[in-house]
């Protein structure tokens, strides 16, 4: 943190400042600002996180109550003739329909994964724009394959 100084304004609100570039911080505790009659409560970052968490948990409970998770076909039932992969591996299942297994299950996903892992280094300097376009292309391809997976059932 060399070169960074901690500052305080009149309200005691902390700031962190690099000379020539100041960053306002959201405090750890909430506080009231403004003159009487027009008071405004500035929520702390912890309170903001808690609010977002409550909204998320409420939505999750509602979805869970309304949409039960499937249990699938039991082992005692007549044998299935076709089984779809879980949707997260849907793109690979679609690829396996059109390309050899080694290419569809290892080569293409492997190249994508290695590209993603190395993305920060590939996108340095002149490589930034091509790397970004590759990322968009790969992400788009995954979405198209997912759509095909849904469409093919």
């Amino acid at each position: 943190m060399a070169g960074i100084r901690t500052l305080r304004d009149e309200d005691g609100c902390s700031k962190i400042g690099v000379p020539g570039r100041k960053k306002v911080l959201v405090r750890g505790v909430s506080m009231k600002t403004g003159s009487s009659g027009s008071e405004r409560i500035n929520l702390s970052w912890a309170e903001r996180e808690m609010l977002a968490g409550l909204v998320f948990l409420t939505a999750l409970v509602l979805v869970s109550a309304l949409f039960p998770a499937a249990v699938g076909t039991g082992p005692q039932a007549p044998l299935l003739r076709h089984a779809a992969a879980p949707w997260i591996f849907g793109p690979i299942q679609v690829l396996l329909l059109y390309v050899p297994p080694l290419v569809g299950a290892w080569l293409i996903p492997g190249v994508f994964l290695i590209f993603l892992f190395l993305f920060p280094w590939l996108s340095r300097g002149r490589g930034a724009r091509p790397a970004f376009y590759f990322f968009v292309f790969f992400a788009g391809a995954v979405l198209v394959l997912l759509a095909m997976y849904v469409w093919l059932g």
Partner: protein, 208 residues
């Protein structure tokens, strides 16, 4: 003022930059992923009280949980949906990091941790799918073993090491159960703690 550098001082700092807290910047995707992970952990522990891995017992305990145990269905639904949300939110979080160029130095090493977490999330989701013990899970297990054995030399040992004796008839093995309930979640938790600490460390916060 002394700059405290401990883990807690980075996770619970005195202040966080306004930009890092803005909804339009983060869309809460990292936080949602972590919250989904916590829900998965808690509901997973509750499910473990009734779940028994095995060729017949796996599917039987899932149906018992879904229809007999009080609130078992709701807990299982929460576990399932939190898992789906986590896959989506972690993926979108990665897209957001690319959009805001938050992978640039000094954050490139944290990008690696995040990518590892994405892979772990996918594997956790897949092993959870296998533990359902249904015919669909069996088919997925058979495909996974086949894909792993495609790798010359190391494929078969890898399949044996990670999936054990899974087959189309039995996807809910003890090995998959231990990976899903113990090894992978603890590895994911440790990586997440490091991920958060590194975010704070790289982002500039004022310690407590």
């Amino acid at each position: 003022m002394s700059q405290k550098r401990g883990f807690l001082n980075h996770i619970r700092p005195h202040g966080v930059s306004e930009k890092a807290m803005s909804f339009g910047y983060t869309f809460c995707l990292g936080g949602v992923s972590f919250l989904a992970f916590i829900v998965l952990g808690l509901t997973g522990i509750l499910l473990m009280f009734h779940y028994l891995p095995g060729a017949k017992s796996g599917y039987a305990s899932v149906t018992t949980l879904a229809s007999v145990i009080p609130f078992g269905g709701l807990i299982r639904n929460l576990h399932f949906w939190a898992g789906q949300v986590m896959v989506v939110s972690v993926s979108l979080h990665m897209v957001r990091v690319v959009r805001t160029k938050s992978y640039r130095p000094p954050k490139e090493w944290n990008w690696l941790v995040g990518m590892s977490l994405l892979v772990l999330t996918l594997v956790l989701d897949f092993t959870g799918y296998l533990l359902r013990g249904s015919q669909e899970s069996g088919a997925a297990a058979a495909v996974a073993v086949h894909i792993l054995t495609l790798l010359p030399g190391i494929g078969r040992p890898l399949a044996q090491m990670f999936l054990g004796e899974v087959s189309a008839a039995n996807s809910s093995t003890l090995m998959v159960y231990v990976w899903h309930c113990v090894a992978l979640p603890f590895l994911a938790l440790w990586l997440q703690m490091f991920h958060f600490w590194k975010i704070r460390k790289d982002g500039g916060v004022r310690p407590l």
